[in-house]
């Protein structure tokens, strides 16, 4: 999976599996805060994949994750991620 950005600018972030993206631009066009853009790079199949260009705008609403027909992107709120990690850590101790 994509490694998270250490700098937390917005309320959330997105995770992209660029190797399965087909560049349909659903996530880019229907992002409520227009935080995503096409990357200038190509993936193995020759498609441009999305990129979080304005991380300060991302709210982690996961609408991109719901729209994605290729299951290539999803969003998450930092708050939820931290909670889940804490829960997981506590489960491991038990």
């Amino acid at each position: 999976m994509t490694v998270e950005d250490t700098a937390r600018k917005g309320k959330g972030t997105v995770f992209v599996r660029m190797e399965v993206c087909k560049g349909c631009s659903y996530c880019i066009d229907f992002c409520p805060t227009h935080a995503l853009d096409f990357s200038k790079e190509f993936n193995q199949k020759g498609y441009h994949f999305p990129e979080l260009n304005r991380p300060e705008d991302c709210t982690g609403c996961d609408l991109c994750g719901l729209f994605c027909p290729d299951f290539a992107i999803f969003g998450a709120r930092w708050k939820d991620l931290d909670e889940k990690r804490q829960q997981a850590a506590s489960q491991v101790k038990l």
């Binding site: 087909k22 349909c24 631009s25 994750g65 729209f67 027909p69 299951f71």
Partner: protein
Amino acid sequence: MSESLDLRLALAETELENPVLPYLRQDRIPHIWCPGCGIGTSVNCFCRALTDSGLDLNKVAIVSGIGCTGRTAGYLNLDSFHTTHGRAIPFATGLKLGNPELNVVVYSGDGDLFAIGGNHFFHAARRNMDILVICVNNFTYGMTGGQVAPTTPVGPTQTTMPLGNFESPFNLPFIADACGATYVSRWTVYHVRQLAKAMKEALGKKGFRFIEVMSPCPTLYSRRNRLGDGVDQVKYYKESSVIKNGADTKDIGLGFQGEIVVGKFVDRERPTWLESMNDHFSHVLGDQFTPYGVKPEGE
């Protein structure tokens, strides 16, 4: 399957894996659907609905026919079957009657369910067979090359109608309503949250439930009619759709690039086929008859 799936679902939450991935057969992904096709989005919503509904995934079975949407059964990591063309509903009926505990979902396209499988749809709805039918309507036969389907509106050009289609299309929610379905709704792939909610609601109901999902076909329908890419079609859904819950289903037919009425149209209770059969034979035969498919008391 359930334990490993539960483990993977737990992992998905901690390891930052896409929440939908545990529902998919990873060896078959990426799927063959075109860039811009909405079927993947509808499958995505269905997976979210499964998560939200909290159903035991060992008791969910998915049946598909032939066609682009028919490939869903092969991609979802549930008990699934890919039937012959148009016979998804008869297979699902048999599956439900053979094991009444199962929650059977038929996931197929408009050509499969309403052209070759039309009869089966009508009679399953008439009998109120306890299955959920999700029909992804892309107004054409996608896999075979863009022929006129029973849902193609009047006007657009197709490979078998090079000068434009003149045949009246089916109004799918009206058919389902008239045949006696207990739950009828229509959403487009733009309405992802509503679609996931509708699927969740329908999964929890009894009887014959029908959801129509409008989806763009960028490679055949849109390209042939110069409607742009898949995303342009979804923008059209966004601009032209009106939510009218409880609308009269006979007024909500679809025109070419016209207004789209979406929403939940029918939600009613009717005895399912198994309930009717048990009632009838209990009445006629009395104690000689043991009701079939009823959970023993105390469970």
